[in-house]
């Protein structure tokens, strides 16, 4: 319950209320998300010479189903099964003291571990880069990957740290006054990327 609450704020707004839906527009719909993921799957295979030693780790909440979908697509293309899991970054956040203690998401590292693997972090929206920074710290405590790469469905800009994605579903230039919401079938019974007006929030600290 609480994990969902956190996840919603992670993508800026959470499932938008009905009134807000009127002011939001979909920039990606289901089929486009599907094609973007298929392309990313191919790019991962290219960049890693056929997916040798690749482990996909999704960042909860919505990075996890994206990691699973990427793993399925890679398997379909190359007939090679790729381990995937989830990596919760709550304990590594830099804004913990700005909000009440948060519920933790699931961390589920595949049995192969991450030592000497090529870890591809998967998230839905890349924003400030702070989530990725936290994820890199979390990985550091879990082992020593051979390399770490980053895949994101949407890159909305406004980075606050020197971090960039290796694989991007869609570059989405946004204003700080806008919010980006990713809806996924697994949680929202619909695939879409929505852009709408930002709600009044103390700071844009939350997003990725």
């Amino acid at each position: 319950m609480c994990a969902q609450k956190r996840a919603k704020s992670d993508v800026g707004e959470g499932s938008p209320a009905r009134a807000d839906l009127d002011r939001t527009r979909a920039v990606l719909e289901g089929p486009e998300i599907g094609r973007a993921l298929t392309r990313i799957a191919h790019e991962v295979l290219e960049r890693t010479k056929g997916g040798e030693g690749v482990t996909l780790l999704g960042i909860p909440t919505r990075g996890v189903p994206l990691a699973r979908r990427l793993a399925e697509r890679i398997e379909r293309v190359e007939d090679r099964s790729v381990p995937w899991g989830s990596l919760d970054i709550t304990m590594y956040r830099d804004d913990l003291r700005l909000a009440p203690a948060r519920a933790l998401g699931r961390t589920d590292i595949p049995a192969e571990g991450i030592d000497d693997r090529v870890v591809v972090l998967v998230d839905d929206v890349l924003f400030s880069g702070r989530t990725v920074r936290a994820a890199l710290d979390a990985l550091n405590d879990l082992g020593r990957p051979r390399a770490v790469q980053l895949a994101t469905l949407v890159d909305r800009g406004h980075r606050q740290l020197p971090i960039r994605a290796d694989y991007v579903g869609k570059n989405l230039p946004t204003s700080l006054r806008e919010s980006v919401t990713v809806l996924l079938d697994e949680f929202d019974s619909r695939d879409a990327v929505l852009v709408g007006p930002a709600k009044a929030r103390p700071a844009p600290e939350e997003e990725h």
Binding site: D88, Y92, A99, P100, A101, R102, T107
Partner: protein, 313 residues
């Protein structure tokens, strides 16, 4: 700042949040770096006025695994032995800027008093015969891990209820989480007010045993007994001890719990204590995860995710 003074202060959702958080944090012991950076720069004081190995080391390790700075303060070898009062000690800690104070004291209500004197979060690690909320949380966590659910679980708590803070905390927490508790003890070892507790009471262990999913044995706390509460240890053990024969009459998947320290041969036989259905060592392991969860939820954010607001300035 909020505190954890009583297991009864936790709502159902808060208790579940602690258990879920503990489950995630339990993974840390399998990692290459057994530490989170979450409480870096925060100070936790362990203030122990009563002897304790298990609880103190468990709290200390839990705080260290969250990267907090830990100060251990025991009554022996401190100003307390020179006659300093609890309040003066509290004000000293306050002046040092402790973010969290874990207190164990032989007086019931000590944690509650402390909460009014310090700004930091107060965690009750056992106050007299009153409460021991983290013990109840780790017991409930162990039940959920072993049996998969809590709702409708039939729990028998057997032994020295009168002097047990573990029993009171467990009754309150298990009631909140929908389990049915039966206290089993000789009439002399039950508190006078037990009829106001949300649980059933029985004097006959043999009647309750076959109908229980969990049997929690308590130690007879001889150090707190100033009067004779039962004729002989042998008679107590005959009527309320869990031996091989009684163990055989329990349900096949029922578990045996004990908060420790155990007195083998008194309330529990060695054979039962070492059986695979006994969770004694698991309880210790789970205690670490549960205390990490409580420390994180109380100290990790701008305001705590659990506990009550008492003592707020």
């Amino acid at each position: 700042m909020r505190h954890l003074l009583s297991a009864g202060d936790l709502s159902r959702d808060e208790a579940i949040l602690v258990l879920d958080t503990a489950k995630e944090l339990a993974q840390v012991s399998g990692r290459s770096v057994k530490k989170y950076p979450t409480l870096r720069g925060r100070t936790v004081v362990n203030l122990f006025y009563e002897d304790s190995t298990r609880t103190r080391t468990s709290f200390e390790l839990a705080a260290k695994r969250l990267s907090a700075d830990v100060i251990n303060f025991s009554a022996k070898g401190s100003s307390v032995s020179k006659g300093e009062s609890l309040k003066d000690t509290a004000l000293t800690l306050q002046a040092m800027g402790a973010d969290g104070v874990v207190i164990r004291h032989s007086a019931s209500g000590a944690a509650h008093r402390l909460a009014g004197w310090v700004d930091g979060a107060v965690l009750n690690a056992g106050d007299g015969t009153h409460e021991h909320p983290t013990q109840a949380l780790l017991d409930v966590f162990t039940m959920r891990e072993r049996l998969g659910h809590l709702e409708g679980l039939r729990v028998a708590i057997v032994g020295d209820i009168l002097h047990s803070r573990v029993a009171r905390s467990n009754v309150l927490l298990l009631h909140t989480l929908g389990a049915e508790v039966t206290l089993v003890a000789p009439p002399t070892l039950l508190p006078v007010s037990v009829h106001t507790w949300p649980c059933a009471v029985s004097y006959e262990l043999d009647e309750v045993l076959p109908k229980s999913d969990v049997v929690m044995m308590l130690r007879v706390q001889a150090e707190r007994m100033k009067d004779a509460f039962f004729p002989t240890a042998r008679e107590y053990s005959r009527r309320y001890g869990l031996d091989r024969e009684r163990f055989a009459r329990m349900q096949r998947d029922a578990i045996v719990m004990h908060p420790g320290p155990m007195v083998r041969g008194m309330e529990i036989s060695a054979e039962v204590a070492d059986s695979p259905r006994s969770t004694v060592t698991e309880q210790v392991t789970n205690g670490l995860s549960v205390r990490m969860a409580v420390l994180y939820l109380l100290l990790g954010g701008s305001e705590s995710g659990i506990g009550n607001q008492e003592g707020q300035a």
